[in-house]
């Protein structure tokens, strides 16, 4: 009997060693997935895209029925806004034209805000809440690469964590931490440009934490936060959210702003993967070497 006990203990210990090894293997910063992982992602992803269709149909049908209740009220509000947005449209068009002319005068064709959109659908959400992942039905074959930004019509929702051939995994904003900061601009009223970094997510209030670069900035909330493109990974001018509250950090050296994400992170179906067209300073060399 003692022999079996020893054997059992031995197996559990070996299992524990394998566990630590696997964690160590997967937790370091990997640019690419291994072939086996890509294969598993694609195979399961194929099943998921089949299963997702009927589920999506039923759930969206229910939300549509619920949405119909408010159609009349919404219609009234929208009508009143329509005239305003027409004016805005003309203004935007004028500005765009002017911008283009000025650019052509300068001879500058590439901009940090340019991107190529890749349309994708969400086929699954990770059941493990702490991993903050969703899966998309587009992969390397469609041009999706690691670290691209992912947006919906409302704003940014995350970045591509890993891409396999036909599917890809998105890390949502709620899973961001200091190792994947976003450089942002804040549209403040005064003329000074306010910049900062998104450094994490506060799970209790469900707000993003924004570290401001300057200390003497007066913000009164409600300002729009957009990506600046200066981080070298994401393009500029992607909407991230609005500022809710500004407090000094725990050492009193910088200011921390709480940013309410513009997009709904718990409920999305169709997203756009954003391929930044401007050169990416760090990755250029490594990619050329590989190809």
């Amino acid at each position: 009997m003692s022999f079996f006990h020893k054997k059992r203990l031995f197996v559990i210990l070996v299992g524990f060693i394998i566990l630590v090894g696997l964690i160590g293997f997967s937790i370091r910063d990997r640019e690419e997935l291994s072939l086996v992982e890509e294969f598993l992602h694609d195979t399961v992803g194929w099943f998921q895209s089949i299963v997702h269709k009927p589920v999506d149909f039923t759930t969206s049908l229910i939300t549509n029925i619920e949405g119909m209740k408010n159609v009349y009220d919404e219609n009234q509000v929208l009508k009143s806004r329509l005239s305003q947005s027409k004016n805005l449209l003309y203004e935007v068009q004028e500005l765009k034209q002017e911008n283009q002319e000025l650019r052509s005068v300068l001879g500058k064709t590439e901009s940090i805000t340019d991107y190529q959109p890749i349309q994708a659908s969400v086929i699954a959400r990770s059941p493990e809440a702490s991993s903050h992942q969703v899966k998309l039905n587009k992969g390397k074959q469609n041009g999706v690469r690691t670290n691209m930004a992912v947006i919906t019509g409302e704003g940014m929702i995350g970045k591509v964590q890993s891409a396999s051939q036909f599917t890809s995994t998105v890390l949502l904003l709620s899973g961001f931490d200091r190792s994947n900061r976003i450089s942002v601009n804040i549209a403040a009223d005064n003329e000074e440009e306010v910049t900062g970094f998104i450094v994490g997510f506060d799970p209790e209030s469900e707000f993003l934490l924004l570290e401001l670069n300057a200390y003497e900035v007066e913000l009164n909330g409600e300002e729009l936060v957009v990506s600046s493109g200066m981080g070298g990974v994401f393009p500029g001018d992607l909407e991230i959210g609005t500022i809710e509250e500004v407090t000094p950090d725990k050492y009193g050296l910088t200011q921390i702003a709480y940013v309410k994400p513009a997009a709904d992170l718990s409920n999305m179906d169709h997203v756009i993967v954003v391929n930044r067209l401007a050169a990416q300073p760090e990755e250029d060399t490594s990619e050329e070497e590989e190809e």
Partner: protein, 177 residues
């Protein structure tokens, strides 16, 4: 053909876990609560009880394989689900030898299994640093809702699956003899 039913069923559960969160109604009361579907584990508990003989370990082998699949597909850290699921099913496998199997015993085993597995996952993630909530908060927002939701899955699943498993078990082990 009978041989492939069990793995296919398990694969289907892994795939379904990915859309499970779509079924949770969008009510503000549930907003702060985290519900983790451990459907694979609940099913494997039933496999351990109804399918496995005393000296066969199908449930544990499947726990390792499909736990690894969940790790690869749904999380960024490989090995956690694999280890925790295998260990939990091993305990249940041992436990099912001691206890007489009836509805309430299996229900109790499911609760124990989901509890042990989720706490194990919490501790490993906590030490790695992917999850940074503390014990009290974890218990209120994640452990209790998760156990309740998985009991619900068990109640739906049990009457459908039990007879099938017993049938497959008879086919599988009679042929070997």
């Amino acid at each position: 053909m009978q041989k492939f039913y069990l793995p296919l069923f398990l694969l289907a559960l892994v795939v379904l876990e990915g859309v499970a969160l779509d079924f949770i109604p969008n009510i503000s009361v549930l907003d702060d609560l985290l519900v983790i579907p451990h459907w694979l584990l609940v099913f494997l508990v039933m496999v351990a009880v109804f399918y496995d003989q005393e000296n066969t370990y199908f449930s544990i082998v499947n726990a390792i394989l499909f736990g690894l699949l969940i790790d690869v597909v749904y999380t960024s850290v490989i090995g956690v689900y694999m280890f925790v699921y295998a260990l939990t099913i091993y305990l249940i496998h041992g436990l099912s030898k001691l206890l007489h199997t009836n509805y309430f015993v299996v229900l109790l085993m499911t609760i124990i299994a989901v509890g042990i597995a989720d706490i194990g996952i919490y501790f490993i993630y906590f030490f790695i640093g992917t999850m940074d909530i503390f014990w009290e908060e974890y218990m209120m927002t994640r452990l209790i809702p998760t156990i309740l939701a998985n009991i619900l899955f068990f109640l739906i699943c049990y009457p459908i699956v039990k007879r099938k498993l017993v049938k497959w078990s008879i086919v599988q082990f009679d042929r070997k003899k």
